[in-house]
Symmetry: C2
Subunit: 274 residues, 2 copies
Amino acid sequence: MLRILVAFVMVAICLESYKTVKAESGNEYTLESARTSLVRQEDTIIFGLIERARFPINSPTYNQNNISIPHFFGSLLDFLINDTEAIQAKAGRYVNPEENPFFPENLPASVVPHYPFPQFLHPAAALININKSIRKMYLDELLPMFVASGDDGNYAQTAASDLSLLQAISRRIHYGKFVAEVKFRESRKDYEPLIRAKDREALMNLLTSKSVEEIVVKRVGKKAMVFGQEVSVDGDVKGNKYKVDPSVVSNLYQKWIIPLTKLVEVEYLLNRLN
Amino acid sequence: MLRILVAFVMVAICLESYKTVKAESGNEYTLESARTSLVRQEDTIIFGLIERARFPINSPTYNQNNISIPHFFGSLLDFLINDTEAIQAKAGRYVNPEENPFFPENLPASVVPHYPFPQFLHPAAALININKSIRKMYLDELLPMFVASGDDGNYAQTAASDLSLLQAISRRIHYGKFVAEVKFRESRKDYEPLIRAKDREALMNLLTSKSVEEIVVKRVGKKAMVFGQEVSVDGDVKGNKYKVDPSVVSNLYQKWIIPLTKLVEVEYLLNRLN
């Protein structure tokens, strides 16, 4: 309860500074720049999938209470995420509004000199973090689809790969905040009445472009083929054997990344006029 | 001095257990399995280069004493490597003899259940760690060759990308220990007299295969083209523009990775009969 109250007070403070800087910050993000970023982020996610697939499932990484650290209850993955996020928070990672931690509680402050990231989003954006759902989807649904069974003992490397991949997927999905803000600024008169009416379904329809989604799903499948192939020196493609099944990558986008991004967009828009 | 003494005592203890398990451990590593691993590690290194190239140089990541952490003197990158390695050490990363830390001093012990990694190497392998040279090569020579100038404020993400890439390059170079052991076991009678004579040059010649090196250098350039291209949904290759210049990747292998791997091989062999 206290945490929610503190968050709202912080949002109120940010809202004031947001109003002040909005005029100067301009359009650092455009539909074109957002599109370019999303396309580039696809490569990062596919590289991450291929790198995680180097290791088998390595289930001791995910078993609860498999490690002996006083006062820590959770899996090795939880431990590694929690402690690595703390280091990266000190190094300033979460000062960039494109980044969202998996364990936002008790993160230490940044120790690096302040960098003036553009204040492009409405301050309510800071309250939107669906990493719990992303983590659950990743562990329960995605991982079993693309990693082999087995145990090779490389639990730390496995957890580090998981974290990199989770961060890439999380960044992609929460980028919905920027996409929604760009769309809102471009068609304010279309969005405002739907936001005031809190009409989730109509907002979802307005921001959905089926044809764009189909291209994305096809493109990531194609990228999985290109990046996951065996490359030989004579340039022959040794087709049909990919390091991660391209249909898994297309599925990941179709079933989870695109719908969750749109969920973030709708959540953001519903708070856009606060 | 004390550290060196402790290290030698540890090696002596390991040597005993090595002699005991050698017979059972068999040939988990072969020339074929080593080759397969090295080829796969090329992908990891190239993905790492492409991912690091997402960010400009971001020089505040490397400036000395740019961060305010009590009792810590060094760059943000040093801080991130030091603390991340400590977490990964707890998670058991360095129990696997394929892994070598950048800051081996004061690493905490593993807290995960013991995994029986094969004891394939001679125990003297544990003393060979050229990460200081790798780190220097990376910062002074490699980075300026493939990242753009500029500062986008993503210092934590930059340092995390640096660490992943450094770990991949380090693993590849120190894999020379396994390559040397495989070669030694295959041609013991050729290696033994050269080792006893401490003839570095003759050892270097014996383990060098110019034709294999040429194939590797060509293949990594080719991989950089494949993995670093823009992929469009219609399958057309939008050639000529790569995320990392393929000649940088070939150069990295030719000038540093291959020579440093061979340096590790020679160092390992010189200690092989101790």
